[in-house]
Assembly symmetry: D3
């Protein structure tokens, strides 16, 4: 089995860089490094004005099945859903594989509140939330494919946690760094997170300069992508801004 790796924390410096970086720019830097598929498809924020940076803690659901659900009922202390939530540490994001199924919620406002109380920064799933208005009221960043009033056990059985999962068509390992903004969620493999974040921050700075020029009427040619003159102008402004 491919290991999910150790669960290294997301350093504060990395977190600060990522908090200012858009998922689009991070995607570009990942793509340049051969990662073609790191944005969760059809997974939308409940509130488009929230952002988060978090360390992935994974939870995997399978289709509900009588014997497995009975076993969880007999031994609730072995329920991977509860265990995953109680294992959340400050700065973690709980990310749940739900196979894209939106015919039941993956969890509701009480469990979401516990994630938040433990310091969790977001919940992400390619399934649905239930108690969606209650989750919105918590003020926790939350991303899903849908909303449905149904209990998770009507459709799902939690099977394992802190294992590699698929969510929104992307592979996520425990310890990956997840970043969410109004567009959605991007997944940074832990080993390249710093490098990607640095490059993305630089790209964003340059692009902010370019955007300003474009808004002021500059043509694409020479400006975007920037030619040598534009790059020099950018460097000049950057130095002067220091």
């Amino acid at each position: 089995m491919v290991s999910g790796g150790e669960l290294r924390p997301v350093p504060e410096t990395l977190r600060r860089v990522l908090e200012r970086t858009s998922t689009a720019t991070l995607w570009t830097q990942l793509y340049r490094r051969g990662y073609r598929n790191q944005f969760l498809q059809d997974v939308r924020p409940l509130r488009s004005d929230y952002r988060f940076v978090g360390r992935a803690r994974t939870l995997r659901y399978l289709p509900g099945r009588a014997d497995l659900l009975a076993a969880l009922e007999r031994e609730p202390e072995r329920n991977p859903q509860r265990a995953a939530i109680e294992a959340i540490e400050p700065g973690d994001v709980l990310v749940i594989e739900a196979r894209g199924e939106t015919g039941a919620g993956v969890l509701g406002d009480i469990l979401a509140a516990r994630v938040q109380a433990r310091g969790g920064v977001a919940i992400v799933t390619d399934g649905a939330f239930r108690d969606t208005p209650g989750i919105v009221a918590l003020g926790l960043a939350a991303y899903a494919r849908g909303q449905h009033a149904g209990l998770s056990q009507s459709l799902h059985v939690p099977i394992d946690r802190d294992v590699p999962i698929a969510c929104g068509g992307v592979t996520i390992l425990p310890g990956d760094v997840l970043v969410g903004d109004g567009e959605g969620v991007v997944v940074l493999p832990r080993d390249i997170a710093e490098e990607v974040a640095e490059a993305a921050a630089e790209q964003e700075e340059l692009e902010a300069f370019i955007l300003e020029r474009i808004r002021a009427g500059a043509p694409l040619a020479g400006t975007y992508p920037p030619d040598e003159a534009t790059k020099r102008a950018y460097e000049a402004q950057r130095r002067s801004g220091e």
Copy 2:
């Protein structure tokens, strides 16, 4: 044919209880009684801050067909769509089976205004609305799968009203009690509506207590689901609150 039952009104007491209850909690109580499929899938509120409680008045559309559309044109007074709207009584919700088709609207702002003028509390469909901005402007609760500028007759023909229908994958009988919130719409069979509402109200009260504890830092174990100590604490608070 399975009868849709008589169209008993929704008593004011029942309405008041349901107005404070989330669709998620009602779904849970229905599920416990063997109803596995009572939440309309992929049917979303136009405005997430609206709620409603209403008695289902059903309208069934079939795919458009030349002879049936010609018959309605010849005898507009026999149009089940118009008849359904003019039969709306205060407290009713008009719910329209559109087979999940979003390539045309099921109705627009003028017909919606008539539903509202007659005391209707909501319109629900698994098709699309047209004049969506106009419907939003009316301030009427409205739930649909999509929005489309097209007239209903380009895709649909109204075939019957006050008959059992399928909407959002749920069977709805005339006289069922429908409840909508920011999450969506849940369907309560009329005969068990009071029982479900009572149980849901109790559950919500307890869960509000639990949510408060969780937000204050209580662990899931013992709190949710509540053990005897938590239940006693809840009962104590409840009594002291009286």
Copy 3:
């Protein structure tokens, strides 16, 4: 090849009429003239409070392919995407065929800003935007099927511009008049745009009168559709209003 016609401007008078007219009413007038399929399906506004009227400038994407992408990299000046954007004139809307694919953006905030800077009034696609929050921040009307952080070249290759395209299931010719509101986007063939706009404006005036009556409690029968008495009342009010 069916010609996309010359790119006649949208006269200011036509623009003013269309700015007050809903896509639903325009759809009705098109339908009466045999146009059954002029509303872009599943293409939603980023902001539901925006509107636009614009002349269609088309851009066609095909699935990405190594040789074509390499050719664009070698000769960026022949990139139809860049050419389409730099050819935007005031009052134009850039409309992009993306085959309904939402697994990558069709463009991001910098290119959108250039469209805006050149006087473009909107961007429409049946694909996804990237940098969606940035595009929202521009204040440009924008309509799409989804949002995705990915670069267009990961999925698409721009192949041609100012040719007939399919977008949201509708055929759009360069020079067509596009109108967008909170419901979506409707396509007016250039040759009948004035006629359709006139008829729609008249219909809207009448329907505003009808809506007022319905809201005041009038029944559907006689009011909608209006019988002779209602029509006379409308004409009387209209004259008195002059």
Copy 4:
């Protein structure tokens, strides 16, 4: 409610004409009369070498629901599925609305055998069959969207029979004439069935002549559609063939 009309039998002469006519040609003749939507989409024959002509006997399923399923269990004699099957007369086709759901069968080989024993000529549904190999073994024409081992009551509840239904996106009234071949199923409204059949038979005769010419190397121009010369040649051959 729009009536399904009386259940007139399909005369033997009509049946004989239709048995030689393709669904494609019948579709064309329906389309010329304003019927745009008479072919069941995504409904495939179990065996592509079977054909049938039959009178529609309809059965409508709704999503399963605890109270309705319990009522059928208490009073099986009121089950519309059983009633529909026992009401089959020679030459009938049983057509079942299943909302496109393929997660359970609509019926299996025993019920299909009863349809056949009563003289039924085909079973058509936009759901799935179960016991598909058993149904194939019966040698009965059968058309569906899928195949699934599940019992119908796990997903559906039969609600009514001999009422208008939607199947494969087409409205079907009891008494309509259904024709199936290797392509699929087309629906002829009873009132125009003779007229459509006559016209289709003529069209087929002409097209057989055209096909022969095309296969022999004739160009499309003048041959298809046929110009006056081709029509004369066809008439000449026809006369000589008598």
Copy 5:
């Protein structure tokens, strides 16, 4: 983590019973025991005249990702796909979770041949096969959602084997008993496989008797479901047949 249990072999007696039993009947017996979801949806046999009974050996794919694919290239001996195939024992069925993705094959004819050479009785996936004609030529039972010429690594990365998986919307544990026929594949949890098989065999015998009666003209009432008289007749025939 819920254990997949030990990998007990499928006894020859059980295998023999299951070889004569349809997936539809097995589904019924599972459903009666509370298992509502044991048939793989949209997973079809390559050849409808094949059957199999096998012990589930599972393989799980996740979406492809640069670092994981690079790791497998560096250490091919740790590839779970290869390991799963080389671990196949006589009577096993290899079942592969592919998240319903049909944009690449999960394996082709060479790997399928190795499964067969090791005594594997079938390959099942909710993805696609590649080299489909080659797999058909092998004469191995094979079930999939689609067929695609693409290599698995263009879309998937194998992540683990002999763990619980989801396939066709059903949870499968290693050691489960899978049965396939012309309809599709049904999953029997190991612990109840004998009981379900016995009950299904009895049901099939009775239903064969019923089917014969129905084909001979018996009405549904009294025959299906069988009343006391029919049951007695069945018992009588059964005894006489001994």
Copy 6:
């Protein structure tokens, strides 16, 4: 606009090599050269025992629209569909972009017969065929997503021919080499067709050797992918086979 290139013929030698090569192997060789997306998704052969090699002649459909359809009716000689068919040369394959729409046929048996009479070797579309049984009867290789009795003009309007198109999610240029087998259709850009074909033929020869070994019981390790010993054995056999 990216040119579709001149329409070079497919040399007989190339054709002969490709006739013996599977689409799966060709896909692999394309993938190794950076072409990730050259297999038409969800496009299936009408008969799985047919194969073809052909030069792509493209035809592009757009959604039907009143003015464009009227123009074609007025000037049928300018219909790109007819023109495309009459331009077919021996060895060509007609490939039609239909946007994945299966609600109408793209053409029927008469037009297919003309393609065949002109020496066309196949017809490929991501839409549907009509007169499917008639097309099967012609014995022409044919690949589509569905089958539908409807005339193309009920849904489509032909807009252009011999231009780049998208079909089954793949970009196809006029002059590309298409190869079809029982799995589906793969697209070879003309400039690399010989190189890909050579490499694929070599790969197939080696894989036939490997398959034989695997069927004889060889383990994957060392055999597939082949190690030095296996490669030497292959070379030895190859030489001895000469």
